[in-house]
Amino acid sequence: MSNAVVERERELRADEVRRAGEVKRLERRDGWKRRLPILPALLFTIVVTQIPFLFTLFYSLTDWRIDKPEPREFVGFENYGDLPGDKFFRDAAWVSVQMTVMAVLFSLIVGTLLAILLDRKFFGQGFVRTLLITPFLVMPVVAGFMWKSQMFSATFGVLNWIIELFGFEAVEFATKYPLASVVVVLVWQWSPFMMLIVLAGLQGQDSSVLEAARVDGATSFGIFRQITFPQLRPFLELGTLLGAIYLIQVYDHIDVVVGGQPAAKNLPFYIAQRSIGGGNVFGLASAYSIVVVIASIILANIGLRVLSNLLEDDS
C-alpha cells in the first residue's frame, strides 16, 4: 500500500473518532439541557421537604421529650424497638388501613356512579354537576363541623330527625360509630373528585365502539363491564393514587367529627397525639413517622410499578 493510501486511511479513522467525540459531547450537552428545566422544582422540593425529613430522622434516634428537663440523648434505634410492643400504634395502623381503604374505595364507587349518571344530556345537567362537586371544595374543618353538629348530632341533627320520624331512637352517630362517621364525611368530600376524573374518562370514549357493541346486542351493563370499565382503568388508578395520598394523611376530620376517639384514630392522629398533642415524646413520634414513610414508599412502589400502568412511557 502506498503512503498516500495509508495516510488517507489514517485521516478517515481520525475523522471517525473526532465525529464520535463530537456526537458524545453533543449528547452530553443535550442531556444537561434536558435536565435543567426540572432543577428549580427539584431543588425547591428537596430543600423544603428533605430538611424536615432529615430532622425527623435525627430526632427519631433520640429520646427527646418536651417534659423532661434533661437534654436530648442519642439512643439509636431504641424508639423503633418500642414500636412492635405499642398496642396503640398497631390499633392506629389498623384504623389507618381501614379508613383509607374504605374512603378510597367508596368514593371511587360513588364517584363512578355519579359520573355515569352525569354523562348524559338532561335538563339542568350543568347545575346538578355544580351541586355535586361542591363537597370537594369545602374546607375539611367546615365539612367535619357540618356533619357532626348538623347531621350526626342526636339533638339537632337532620339524620336523627328523619330516623325519629320513622319511630326509631336517635343515634349519636359520632360517638357510637366514629370510624364509620369519619368515613362517611370523607366519602362525601372525595366522591366529587373521583367523579370528575371518571367523567373525564367517560368523555374520552369512542362512540363507534359503543355503537358496535349495541349492534352486537350487548346490554348496558355488559357494555359497561367489558368496554367502558377497562378503558376507565387508568383514570380509576389515578383517582386511587391521588385519593390515597391525601386520605392517608387525614387529620382534620378525625379531630372535628369525633374528637379523636380511639376507634377512629389513624396513624397521623396518633402520632400527633404522642407529640404535640400532649404526649410530648417527640423522639418516639418521629420514629413512628419515619416508619409510616417507609411503609408508604414500599406500598406505593408496589402499586405504581407493578400493578399500574400510570408510569408507562408512550413516546
Partner: protein, 289 residues
C-alpha cells in the same frame, strides 16, 4: 387530529329509551340535591338565630343577617374576618403562582424531552407527600422559629408550594405529554427557541390543563388547616383557622359557626363552580398518560 376535532360525544351507557332516560334524569336530580343537602342546611343555619339553630331541625324560620355581621365585624377569635381573608388570599395566590412557575419547566423536562430517569424523578416528587405532616411539624416549627418565620405568611407560602408541587408536576407532565411531538418539531424547524416553543406552541394547547391544576392547588392550599394552626396561631392565620376560632366556649354558636363557614368557603366554591368545565376538559385532555 385529536386537537382539532371534538371527539364524537359518546352515547351514554344508560338510558337508551325515553322513559328510562327521563327517570334517570329525575333520579340524578334527586341524588344531586340530596348530596348537596348538608351544605344547603349549613347556609340555612347561617341565617338563623342561635335559638332556632340549636333546636330541632327547622326548615321555616325568620331569617336574619345578624350572624353574618357578627362574624365579619367582631373579633371574638384570634383575628378578624378581613385579616384572615387577606392572609389566606395572600398566601394561596403567591403559592399557586410559585407552584406553576416551578412546575411548568419541570413538566417540560419530564414530558417533551424526557430525561432518562423521569419515572424516578416523578416518583420522588410523589413520595414527598408520604411523610405525615404531623410527624414533621416539630422540626418545621423549630426551623420556622429559627428563621423568624413563625406567624408569617411566608412560611405557609413555602410549605403550601412544596405541598402542591408534586401534584402540579404530575398533572402538568401528562398534559404536556399530550402535545403532539410533530408540533414541537415543526416549531424547531421554524426556528423557535426553547422559551418560544413553550410560550407560543405548548402553553396555548395545555391551557385548560393549567387551569385545572391551578384550581386544585388553590383548593388544597385554601382549605389547609393543620399547618396554618400549628405555625401561625395568631398573626398569620388563615381562613380555616379563623373558622375554627368562631367556636366559643360560652353559649350557643352553631348559627354563628355556620355563617362563618359559609363565608370562609365561598371563594373557593365560587372558583370551583366557575372553573369546573375547564377542569373536566383539562382532566380529559391528558391527566392520564
Amino acid at each position: 387530529m385529536a386537537l382539532f376535532t371534538r371527539a364524537p360525544k359518546a352515547e351514554p351507557i344508560l338510558g337508551q329509551n325515553r322513559m328510562v332516560a327521563a327517570l334517570l334524569g329525575v333520579a340524578t336530580w334527586i341524588i344531586g340535591l340530596t348530596f348537596f343537602f348538608p351544605l344547603f342546611w349549613l347556609v340555612l343555619n347561617g341565617f338563623k338565630s342561635e335559638l332556632d339553630a340549636n333546636s330541632s331541625p327547622k326548615l321555616f324560620f325568620e331569617p336574619t343577617f345578624d350572624r353574618f355581621t357578627e362574624v365579619t365585624e367582631e373579633t371574638t377569635g384570634l383575628l378578624s374576618f378581613s385579616e384572615a381573608f387577606g392572609n389566606s388570599f395572600w398566601t394561596v395566590v403567591p403559592s399557586t403562582l410559585l407552584v406553576m412557575l416551578l412546575a411548568v419547566p419541570a413538566a417540560y423536562a419530564l414530558a417533551i424531552r424526557p430525561m432518562r430517569k423521569w419515572r424516578d424523578v416523578l416518583f420522588f416528587f410523589i413520595s414527598t407527600k408520604f411523610l405525615p405532616i404531623v410527624g414533621a411539624v416539630m422540626p418545621l416549627w423549630i426551623i420556622a422559629r429559627d428563621f423568624d418565620l413563625l406567624n408569617t405568611r411566608t412560611i405557609l407560602i413555602v410549605l403550601y408550594t412544596a405541598m402542591n408541587l408534586p401534584l402540579a408536576v404530575w398533572m402538568l407532565r401528562s398534559f404536556f405529554a399530550e402535545v403532539p411531538k410533530e408540533l414541537i418539531e415543526a416549531a424547531q424547524i421554524d426556528g423557535t427557541s426553547l422559551m418560544g416553543q413553550i410560550r407560543q406552541v405548548i402553553l396555548p394547547i395545555v391551557a385548560p390543563g393549567l387551569a385545572a391544576t391551578a384550581l386544585l392547588c388553590v383548593i388544597f392550599a385554601w382549605n389547609e388547616f393543620f399547618l396554618a394552626v400549628q405555625l401561625n396561631p395568631v398573626e398569620g392565620s388563615t381562613m380555616p383557622v379563623w373558622v375554627a376560632s368562631q367556636e366559643s366556649g360560652r353559649g350557643n354558636f352553631l348559627a354563628k359557626l355556620s355563617a362563618a363557614s359559609v363565608l370562609a368557603t365561598l371563594p373557593v366554591v365560587l372558583a370551583g363552580w366557575v372553573a369546573q368545565k375547564r377542569m373536566i376538559r383539562g382532566l380529559a385532555m391528558g391527566a392520564i398518560k
